[in-house]
């Protein structure tokens, strides 16, 4: 054993020396591998954090997410992006919590924004509304003070809160004095009783709340939840349960079913009489599912899953390309070292020893590549995370190196090292000893030549795959950037205000909004100002069903109509033209008849044309007690939710006729670039409402750009992979051509001695490169077409078989191939036949 280890150590030492003596080769191979491994480590880290990693809580595998299917009681659902079937009302949560005998416990959670005022400054932050047992059931300890308890989650309890560690550390400088300090949260006093553990952010992955408040004080975060304790209609809580030891989710689900049906029956009874079909859907067809919840809830996981998997695939291809590139380098190197290995064989080395030597050298390269790659990965994660995180928020993905990243990186390095070393190793298993040992030079050609050509063509093929993906994604991004949203996004400033978060009482909000609009209108350079309760191109989607007078909906029609409250001058400010009727005026208030403006799609669907819609009446919801609104105008169709979303049938109503419109988004049409009025806007807002925090102040262009953060990040990564892949393929082509040309020096000398021109010799090299690259392109394009099908959901305005992209990629690769051949071709053309023929 000692002898064996001794020889292994000797081989390692020799391999290290080999790498030291060829620093160019070693550096190229290590950097190439580091790029591949680093990219994979970084993307894996994102994927792991978003999709795979368990919450940092006690026994995360015992956690289950509650999902209730079946017809829902019509009412408000949370706007934070969770799936509707995973939302529950407060009474339903309280019942499940108190009557459940199957689970260890159930916690409730929801999110919202709060204004946190400390030392006279207010900042808008995310907050998490949690049940009193939240921390104890999850097993999260305090870093300072204490966590929330069941006693805090009662109506009579004094309002208390627990800060998140990130907020306490980043924003309050880990100030211990905050403990027992009373902060004003959305204008109301709340005593801070503790700071949560540093590793814990939230039970909802992707959320980074600054503050946890008890469910009983939910109104601090959302004043509309003041009566939520008895409101069965509004479903806005996510529920997370903990299984008892040894109980499976399926068994617990079966155990919970009788309770669920009993609670649903109670709710049905509370609703009063309902049609038979509704009863069946509400009761009989309703199920309570317990889904595995070790990774926690997430509102953004679904959005990120597909893009992350696509990028992971691309990173995998990149690593494969890097491995093939290094394999190509090693094949050249093993050809150069063929004689050395033959001497070793002649001295009695077995094939196993030679293979071990080659594999060890490969593993050392892989190890060095992994070390460098892991060092690079956190930087990549930080860059990507900052692009995927809203400005000002803590990073969505933590740029840290953990055991899982290390394990994956080094496992990949080992697999890849084995992959790229095994081909040269196999090639060296049975060499031609006699002829190699007789050669005077130190190099030999042989069958490695074909393998090198295959390797380089494979690199071209993989580059084609990555370039096609990059091309399609970048074209999609360009198409999205040029989408006509239906209004003018140039010279438009947007900002968000929420007077409730600053503690303004309900009766002061409408006057404040009027004051703000008036004051902003007076800023020099501002042409007009308007407000809405549903921001444009920001993912906001508030919908309702409507009743249109004189229109009988077919039985299967269940249209979700967008609803948006807007101020006067809204359409003028956005330059969203009216196609019929009038805009809202200052007179459209609660004291005047309710009015509405609809978009063209709405008018066409219900009335056939825009003009036909004018004067007709519509109401939100259905039933007998309807509040009819007269349609006074029709506005041109415009996208509202996002750039990818189709235009939805929408009705607009005056903000002044809405019952609640506390938080609004303001739009300012400016004469020059919007940045020129930023300072005046800030100053004006501070004068009019000093406590009001300005949220998300940016140009509309930036807002549109922000909605493309995912697409831009994926496009950027894809483009980076494409560029790297092309570079590697170019280097690979150059390496093989340079080597082949050097090997053919004598042949070229003979050709020239026989009268071949320099141009003819150059053509020889160019023909070789076109053959290698052409084979790669031909092999890569069909595979790229298959791969592009995976991308379909991410594409916009471009087909997965886009001929322009495919042709461009093919042309680019051939151009790169020709460029990589220039130097070898020049060298070949300048071979001195006299010298070449004399040399061995």
């Amino acid at each position: 054993m000692a002898t064996f280890l001794g020889t292994v150590f000797q081989d390692v030492r020799y391999a290290l020396r080999q790498l030291r003596r060829t620093p160019g080769f070693a550096a190229t191979a290590v950097v190439t591998l580091a790029l591949g491994i680093g990219a994979n480590a970084a993307i894996f880290s994102l994927l792991d954090q978003a999709l795979l990693r368990s919450l940092p809580v006690r026994e995360p595998r015992q956690l289950v997410l509650l999902e209730g299917t079946g017809k829902a009681w019509s009412g408000r659902t949370s706007g934070h992006g969770g799936e509707r079937e995973m939302l529950f009302s407060v009474p339903m949560y309280r019942d499940l919590y108190e009557k459940n005998t199957v689970l260890q416990g159930i916690v409730a959670t929801s999110t919202g924004a709060v204004g946190i005022e400390r030392h006279g400054e207010t900042a808008v932050q995310d907050a998490e509304i949690v049940s009193g047992n939240y921390f104890s059931l999850l097993g999260v300890r305090p870093a300072l003070g204490r966590v929330l308890t069941a006693a805090d989650d009662t109506d009579n309890a004094a309002p208390v809160g627990v800060l998140s560690y990130d907020y306490w550390h980043d924003r309050l400088g880990s100030d211990p004095a905050v403990l027992d300090e009373t902060l004003r949260i959305s204008g109301k006093p709340v005593t801070i009783v503790g700071v949560a553990a540093p590793e814990f952010r939230s039970a909802v992955w992707g959320q980074t709340p600054a503050l946890f408040v008890p469910l009983a004080h939910a109104a601090l975060v959302d004043p509309s939840q003041a009566d939520s304790e008895h409101n069965h209609r509004d479903r806005w809580l996510n529920l997370v349960g903990r299984l008892r030891d040894g109980v499976s989710p399926a068994a617990a689900e079966a155990g919970m079913t009788p309770l669920w049906h009993a609670l649903r029956a109670d709710e049905l009874a509370a609703m009063g009489s309902k049609p038979g079909g509704f009863t069946a859907d509400f009761l009989t067809n309703s199920r309570l599912h317990l889904l595995e919840g070790a990774t926690g809830l997430s509102y953004s996981r679904q959005r990120l899953e597909k893009p992350l998997l696509i990028v992971m695939c691309m990173a995998g291809l990149m690593l494969l390309l890097a491995a093939v590139n290094v394999a190509g380098l090693l094949l050249v190197r093993s050809a150069v070292r063929a004689r050395e290995f033959c001497v070793r064989y002649a001295l009695g080395a077995t094939a196993g020893r030679i293979v071990r030597q080659v594999l060890l050298e490969g593993f050392l390269l892989g190890f060095a590549g992994a070390v460098l790659g892991v060092a690079l990965a956190p930087m990549v994660v930080r860059v990507l995370s900052s692009r995927l995180t809203d400005p000002g928020d803590p990073l969505l993905f933590l740029p840290t190196v953990d055991g899982r990243m290390l394990a994956v990186s080094f496992a990949l390095a080992m697999v890849v090292s084995l992959g790229f070393s095994v081909v040269p190793a196999i090639q060296l298993r049975k060499p031609d000893l006699v002829s190699t040992l007789k050669q005077q030079g130190s190099t030999s050609a042989g069958r490695g030549l074909n393998l090198r050509s295959v390797a380089v063509s494979l690199q071209v093929a993989l580059s084609v795959l990555l370039l096609v993906c990059a091309g399609l994604l970048v074209r999609s991004l360009q198409n999205l950037r040029h989408v006509d949203v239906g209004f003018n996004t140039e010279q438009l400033l947007t900002l968000h205000i929420d007077p409730e978060l600053a503690g303004y009482p309900a009766d002061r909000i409408a006057p404040l909004q009027r004051d703000v609009l008036a004051a902003l209108s007076g800023i020099p350079g501002v042409r007009s100002v308007a407000a809405t309760d549903s921001a444009e191109i920001a993912g906001s989607d508030s919908g309702t069903n409507v009743t249109v007078e004189g229109y009988t909906a077919p039985p299967e029609e269940d249209l979700d109509i967008g609803r948006i409250g807007v101020s006067p001058l809204y359409f003028a400010t956005l330059q969203e033209p009216l196609v019929a009727g009038r805009a809202f005026t200052e007179n459209d208030t609660l004291d005047h008849p309710p009015v509405a403006i609809v978009n063209q799609s709405f008018a066409r669907h219900y009335f056939g044309s825009a003009t036909a819609a004018l004067g007709k009446r519509m109401a939100r919801g259905a039933g007998n007690k309807l509040r009819w609104m007269e349609i006074v105008g029709v506005v041109r169709d415009a996208r509202h939710i996002g750039l990818r979303d189709d235009v939805k049938m929408t009705d607009f109503t005056p903000l002044a006729q809405e019952k609640k419109a506390a938080d609004v988004t303001l739009y300012l049409r400016t004469a020059e670039e919007p940045q020129t009025v930023f300072r005046d806007v800030t100053a004006t807002m501070h004068r009019v409402a000093p406590m009001l925090a300005l949220q998300h102040m940016m140009t509309m262009g930036d807002q549109v750009d922000r909605t493309l953060a995912d697409e831009r990040t994926i496009g950027l990564l894809a483009a980076a992979f494409g560029v790297l892949a092309t570079g590697l393929a170019g280097i690979g082509l150059y390496g093989v051509l340079a080597y082949n040309t050097a090997q053919r020096t004598r042949e070229i000398g003979i050709r020239m001695a026989l009268g071949s021109s320099r141009a003819a010799v150059s053509r020889l090299v160019l023909a070789e490169v076109l053959l290698l690259a052409g084979a790669g392109v031909l092999a890569g394009l069909p595979c790229a077409l298959l791969l592009a099908r995976m991308l379909r959901s991410q594409l916009y305005g471009v087909s997965a078989t886009d001929p322009v992209t495919l042709a461009s990629v093919a042309m680019l690769m051939l151009a790169v191939a020709l460029v990589s051949a220039l130097l070898p071709a020049r060298r070949a053309a300048h071979v001195d036949p006299n010298q070449a023929l004399r040399s061995e």
Binding site: T3, G6, T7, Q10, Y14, R17, Q18, R21, R339, E340, V343, R344, Y345, A346, L347, G348, A349, T350, A351, G352, R353, K430, L433, V434, L437, K438, Q440
Partner: protein, 251 residues
């Protein structure tokens, strides 16, 4: 000189045919040869006569197409690659015309290399053997040097030390002076003579009659066959005459 009592090498009816696409080349045709333990044999003949092919087969670098080959009383003609490697390592020491030292290894490591392929040999024993072998060729003072830092003659002495370090049954030398000037060539030949005097069995391929004369016995090859010296002169003369006649006829 050691007393020769038994055959170390015995080959019988050995043939080697190289096949290309359409041509069969008979490099060796029915060669019979025995080399006794402690004997010093020189093989010579014109270019292409098959002497290097024969040496490669004797060194187990190549396999015969047909015939018997016994090395140290073991039949080795049809061994697989791994067994041939093992026997090469234990029984044979090579000295090549172009030295074939590994440039990335020091003198010490080059000499140690065959011993590292021998399973079970302790590091201390390896060191002992390497130092002794280098001392034997007067190169112990250069053990940390690399081949590129040595002259051709020194490199060949290191190659001899490498061949000696494993205490092989036979040293096979393929034109050991071919890449050396006359002074260094003579020095290497003196070294081989000394080794032979100490009991080593040596088989050397050379085309230089001066060096062949150092051997106990000379074996002459012509067109893949072993011929007597007188016969060789006759065959060479006949070949020359044939060439001259053909040339005149062509004119």
């Amino acid at each position: 000189m050691a007393e020769r009592t038994e055959n170390l090498i015995h080959i019988e009816s050995l043939t080697k045919v190289f096949y290309t696409d359409e041509i069969e080349t008979h490099a060796l045709s029915g060669v019979h040869l025995s080399i006794a333990r402690g004997e010093y044999v020189a093989m010579s003949g014109p270019s292409g006569c098959g002497k290097s092919t024969l040496l490669s087969i004797l060194g187990l670098l190549d396999t015969p197409t047909d015939g018997k080959y016994t090395l140290n009383n073991k039949a080795v003609a049809n061994l697989n690659f791994a067994d041939r490697s093992r026997i090469r390592n234990q029984e044979i020491g090579f000295i090549f015309q172009s030295f074939n030292l590994i440039g990335d290894l020091s003198v010490y490591e080059n000499v140690e290399l065959p011993l590292t392929y021998r399973s079970g040999m302790a590091a201390s024993e390896r060191k002992d053997r390497v130092v002794k072998a280098l001392e034997r060729v007067n190169m112990a003072h250069r053990l940390r040097h690399y081949p590129a830092q040595l002259s051709g003659g020194q490199q060949q002495r290191v190659a001899v030390a490498r061949a000696l370090a494993g205490s092989p049954s036979i040293l096979l030398a393929d034109e050991p002076t071919g890449n050396l000037d006359s002074k260094n060539g003579e020095a290497v030949m003196r070294l081989l003579n000394e080794l032979h005097a100490e009991g080593s069995t040596i088989c050397m391929v050379t085309h230089d009659p001066r060096f062949a004369a150092h051997a106990d016995r000379q074996v002459h090859l012509f067109d893949g066959k072993i011929v007597a010296e007188g016969e060789l002169q006759h065959l060479l003369a006949a070949a020359e005459e044939e060439y001259r006649t053909g040339y005149s006829a062509a004119r």
